[in-house]
């Protein structure tokens, strides 16, 4: 056997609540992050990601509580992203029980933040999240901000290379062209990033059919992150894992103990 591919559901959280709830009838409260995390854990999620979309700092304080409660009850790795600007922000999240943090815009604004976090806590805690789209840059892909609406003026592959040199432990690659379309991951982009990076690669954006997940793995992704297909019940995590297992991919089967 070898390292299993990872399926990672992403939950948008604000003011202590999950924003896009799940369409499952067996949930008492689809807005409760801890209950959602437990459900995804029992469904076979290999990790969990919380994206803090809070607009205010008081809401961010609530997110720390959510992280604390989740980490005390769900014993699989938890990544938290959104609004992290300083080493102190990372420290607070790790102390609350997050295993990893993901940073995006703040690293673009100040790339040294990557090295500061990696030096203090180790690269293994740091996921660099990149919102990229196809464009007329050197590699054909550029980095965007503001949910894909603005160009960051950076070539995506150059940014991946720089982030890795500075100490990124993992790359989360979001295709802003494919995001929300359910028409499949951007395979060309995954292939291009895989070719130049030696850290684990999480692909995100565009998951629709079960075949889409397999295609992203074939292009070199180590892990697959998805939000809406899971939240809206298009696929259950167990369906995706069963399908991939049947196709010969190494997946973790949920412990039945």
């Amino acid at each position: 056997m070898s390292l299993s591919i990872r399926i990672i559901p992403c939950l948008d959280v604000t003011d202590g609540r999950v924003v896009k709830g799940v369409n499952f009838t067996d949930l008492v409260d689809a807005g409760d992050p801890v209950e959602m995390a437990s459900l995804y854990n029992s469904e076979g999620a290999d990790e969990l990601t919380f994206l803090d979309i809070s607009a205010s700092s008081s809401d961010r304080e609530t997110t720390l509580d959510v992280v604390r409660k989740t980490a005390e009850q769900v014993f699989i790795p938890l990544t938290v992203g959104g609004g992290i600007r300083t080493v102190e922000d990372v420290d607070r999240l790790l102390r609350a029980g997050a295993d990893k943090v993901s940073i995006n815009t703040s690293a673009i604004a100040r790339p040294e933040l990557i090295a500061e976090i990696a030096d203090r806590f180790g690269s293994q805690v740091l996921v660099i999240s990149i919102d990229a789209r196809r464009a007329r840059t050197e590699s054909g892909f550029e980095v965007t901000t503001h949910g894909g609406r603005q160009s960051a003026g950076l070539d995506a592959l150059a940014w991946v290379q720089k982030a890795c040199e500075l100490g990124a432990g993992e790359i989360l690659l979001n295709s802003m062209d494919a995001d929300g379309t359910r028409a499949g991951y951007d395979i060309g982009m995954i292939t291009a990033v895989r070719a130049i990076s030696k850290v684990p690669l999480i692909a995100s954006g565009g998951a629709g059919s079960l075949e889409d997940f397999a295609a992203a793995l074939d292009a070199g992704a180590d892990a697959l992150l998805a939000a809406s297909v899971f939240h809206f019940g298009v696929h259950r995590i167990s369906d995706v894992k069963n399908y991939l297992s049947g196709q010969g991919y190494s997946i973790r089967t949920n412990a039945t103990l």
């Binding site: 056997m1 070898s2 390292l3 299993s4 591919i5 990872r6 854990n41 290999d46 604390r68 980490a71 005390e72 009850q73 014993f75 699989i76 790795p77 790790l94 102390r95 609350a96 029980g97 997050a98 295993d99 806590f121 180790g122 690269s123 293994q124 805690v125 432990g169 993992e170 030696k198 850290v199 684990p200 180590d222 892990a223 973790r252 089967t253 949920n254 412990a255 103990l257």
Partner: protein
């Protein structure tokens, strides 16, 4: 009582909760006497080998571990907490190796694999007579590391492959260690923790 040694190595609250699931009383402490005398001592560890070792020495943890080894009091190292039980490690060195606690006279070196860190769920294959993995030999566990031991020590071993085969757990009398994180390995990890607590 189980003590989780606090020497500045990250958040230990979720680890505490995971060990409490076994039914045991668990404290997070850097107190020497509590750590020396607890029925079981857990030595966690994240970050770089040398930084971890510095932190451990800072609370007298190296002496505590050696004393527990000498008295054969149950002790469990996790992740870099496992690595620093070894003689030395070559993480971020220019020549001279970083010294570990020296429970086991082998070295820690970089895993030879195209993608690092080795991050995610992987399986184990057991050699020797394991108590830790009783009923769990076919389970997956969660790993996050780039360095590991490659040579066998102890009386029972778990081996995992990522690029190359490395030692993913050791049982050696009262001293155990896992390269993976049982406290992050879902139900399989909780069951392994329960096995360990059952050995105390």
């Amino acid at each position: 009582m189980i003590a989780i040694l606090d020497y500045g190595s990250g958040n230990l609250r979720s680890a505490q909760r995971a060990f409490e699931r076994s039914g045991a009383e668990v404290v997070v402490t850097s107190d020497r006497d509590i750590a020396l005398n607890a029925a079981g001592l857990v030595v966690p560890g994240v970050g770089a080998f040398a930084a971890c070792m510095r932190g451990l020495i800072g609370v007298g943890g190296d002496e505590i571990v050696r004393a527990r080894v000498a008295a054969q009091r149950p002790t469990l190292g996790i992740c870099v907490g496992m690595q620093i039980f070894f003689r030395d490690g070559d993480e971020h060195t220019e020549g001279a190796l970083h010294k570990g606690v020296g429970v086991w006279q082998e070295s820690i070196s970089k895993v030879n694999a195209p993608i690092l860190p080795h991050m995610g769920w992987n399986t184990v294959s057991i050699t020797g007579d394991s108590n830790l993995f009783k009923g769990l030999g076919d389970q997956s566990f969660y790993f996050v590391h780039s360095y590991a031991a490659k040579k066998s020590v102890g009386s029972a071993q778990a081996w995992t492959t990522h690029g190359e085969k490395f030692l993913s757990a050791v049982e050696d009398g009262a001293i155990c260690a896992t390269q993976f994180h049982p406290e992050k390995s879902g139900d399989a990890g909780l069951a392994l923790i329960k096995n360990w607590v059952g050995m105390l």
